[in-house]
């Protein structure tokens, strides 16, 4: 009984953290981009702009939810939900901190702790792209359609490299359970040192997965107006944006878990704080990249994914396999 209560509490807490995290990641991005670009960013609502996300949320909810006449109404309505759902689900398996003891129970700080946590995380994060493809398709707008096509082209070019890049970690830890991967790093040291190249590949593909600059092809403001979400407005548009930012937090969380020792850190701060500090640093790098780089062209991205990232990650994967099995 108490376990079910704990589970429900954990789900609600996680949702609150993700929603709050989304709101403030977005605010942080806007403020940081502002500073990068000689502007101040939103600083009017509340002290230093801290209540800006609230104002945005109210605005988004009150806006009229428009739908093009010719749009496929069911798919059009479902696409953003799908995107957001996929983004949220991944976080269920990420361990945010070391297990804690409460009410005589040992509680791990994740919703679920399956043996194949890594696979589940990747499966759900890949699902997110379908929301974008379907949304682009259902809008009956040519720009949205192009955005959707680009999203699918992009997905097939980075997914493989992404999958291969984390296999090294999996082999070194000897488990696909995310909690155990973190624990393995306590013994072996953080994995980003031996796995630096896979980490870079993972990070590159993670940027592609979240559709952010320089891989923001499905959106590509200067080319496709707003890409797949051109026709969306109000809360449905907000859901796409939410999905993007939650995805960004998720892939940062995964990067921290897989390569930077998860919640591990000196004991003067609680483990969960360490986790969020590391995550915030990764997210900042995302924002930094956005302020600096131009966009890939989508055929170049495909050849980059297939001809550069995939071979490198595959070779590194073979090398790690040889090393772990003791051949080398």
């Amino acid at each position: 009984m108490i376990q079910i209560v704990l589970l429900i509490v954990k789900v609600i807490l996680l949702l609150l953290i993700l929603m709050g995290g989304f709101a403030y990641t977005m605010l942080a991005e806007r403020r940081f981009l502002g500073f990068f670009q000689l502007r101040l960013g939103p600083n009017r609502v509340g002290p230093g702009g801290l209540f800006q996300p609230l104002a945005d949320a109210v605005k988004m909810m009150l806006k009229e939810d428009l739908m093009p006449l010719q749009a496929d109404s069911v798919v059009y309505r479902l696409a953003p939900v799908f995107s957001l759902l996929a983004a949220l689900s991944v976080d269920a398996v990420i361990p945010f901190g070391a297990p804690i003891h409460i009410f005589g129970q040992t509680v791990s700080l994740d919703i679920a702790n399956p043996g194949i946590g890594l696979l589940i995380a990747f499966a759900f994060s890949s699902l997110g792209i379908y929301g974008i493809v379907l949304g682009g398709w259902a809008s009956q707008n040519k720009y949205s359609l192009l955005g959707g096509i680009r999203a699918s082209a992009q997905m097939i070019s980075y997914e493989l490299a992404m999958g291969l890049s984390v296999l090294g970690v999996l082999m070194m830890a000897g488990t696909a359970n995310l909690e155990n991967i973190v624990l393995a790093q306590r013994a072996q040291g953080w994995f980003f040192l031996p796995q630096i190249i896979p980490f870079l590949i993972y990070f590159t593909t993670a940027v592609a997965e979240t559709n952010r600059t320089p891989f923001d092809l499905p959106e590509a403001e200067s080319e496709l107006v707003a890409g797949y979400h051109t026709e969306y407005s109000g809360i449905r548009f907000a859901m796409f944006v939410m999905a993007e930012y939650i995805n960004m937090m998720t892939v940062s969380g995964l990067a921290v878990t897989l390569f930077f020792g998860g919640w591990l850190g000196p004991s003067f701060l609680p483990p969960i704080i360490w986790f969020f500090i590391k995550m915030a640093i990764v997210i900042f790098v995302f924002i930094w990249i956005r302020a600096t780089f131009p966009r890939f062209r989508y055929d170049k991205l495909m050849s980059f994914g297939w001809k550069v990232l995939l071979p490198i990650s595959f070779i590194y994967f073979l090398g790690t396999a040889a090393f772990v099995s003791g051949i080398l």
């Binding site: 981009l33 720009y143 096509i149 403001e221 200067s222 496709l224 600096t292 966009r295 062209r297």
Partner: protein
Amino acid sequence: MVTADPERLMDGETMIINLGPQHPSTHGVLRVRLELDGERVVHAEPVIGYLHTGFEKTAESLTYQQCNTVTDRLDYLAPMTNNLAYVLAVEKLMNLEVPKRAQYIRVLFAELTRVASHLVWLGTHVMDLGAMSLFFYTMREREVILDLIEAAAGVRMNPSYFRVGGLAYDLPDGFHDKVRDLIKDFPRWMKSYRNLFEGNPLINERLEGIAVLTLEQALDWCATGPNLRGSGLPLDLRKDEPYSAYDEFDFKVCTRTEGDAYARFWVRIDEIYESMKIIEQALEKITPHGPYTTSDRKVALPPREEIYGNMEALIHQFKLVTAGFPVPRGEVYQGVEGPRGEMGFYLVSDGGPKPYRWRARTPSFYNLQTLPILCKDGLVADVITAIGSIDIMLGDVDK
């Protein structure tokens, strides 16, 4: 203009998409009708006229001095070169001698606007490629140049600073120092920009071999300015038909031979450096005090203090303000090298104070016509690169 093949459209193999007139990267209200096969461009056709303002007809009802304000608004990122082309045309028709000092100041401002215009181009072009931040940096530095223009002309965007016969006002006190500060800071700006784009593989990949314009095509479509020089022909009116004392300045005509977006990119970057060289030389030639407009009282307004004591000056002032000055019967063409190419005016005078025909040869209009060639067989992303790389200005295209 070749239009899309209707039969091909009926097949349903290709898709027509309207890029613009409201689109984030068409730099105004350009509409490009794209025929796409997937993302590959089968045919691109610029549709213009959304910013038609009737400048040429408007000018026919204005006196020669008033027409100047119309020229500002053609290419509003480089108003001074428009002014220059126009006043030179009128002066040519009137056979009017302009003081050397005024000519140097004109050169100074023409080059300042060239730099300002290229800075806007650099920012927006790179922003179109997806890198946002550079735009804000170049706009910051453009602001410094606009401040200089404001200091001299009182206005930032549409200065009408050059007048037939010379300049509207003399340079303000301390102007030399301000320009010197700019010249001093300039290498630092350029370095910070170049850090962002120079050698950046993402930028190079988006530009190299994209939107190629061969020299024959460029000549066929009358492309001028950096677009022509990017294709290899060192045509520059400042060198070939020097005006306004340009022959006294030492500068280089920047060319590249590849003809792609990358070549045009670097021609413009190099031109910014050359313009700064000219600005430096011009500053040395401009004496702090001296005549800034012609002494011909039939053309230039008399100084204020003269009007109150001199009957003739009062008459001149009255005649010039109410009726303008007559221009001898005849026709004339004068072109100058603007930031976007040959900016020229063809004027026909019937001997009265207003032009009989006022025709503007605006560079962007001709440069834009190369767009179908540039976009052919590219991707949608390359269309954006192409539009940015020919640096069009819609006020200039539609007139």
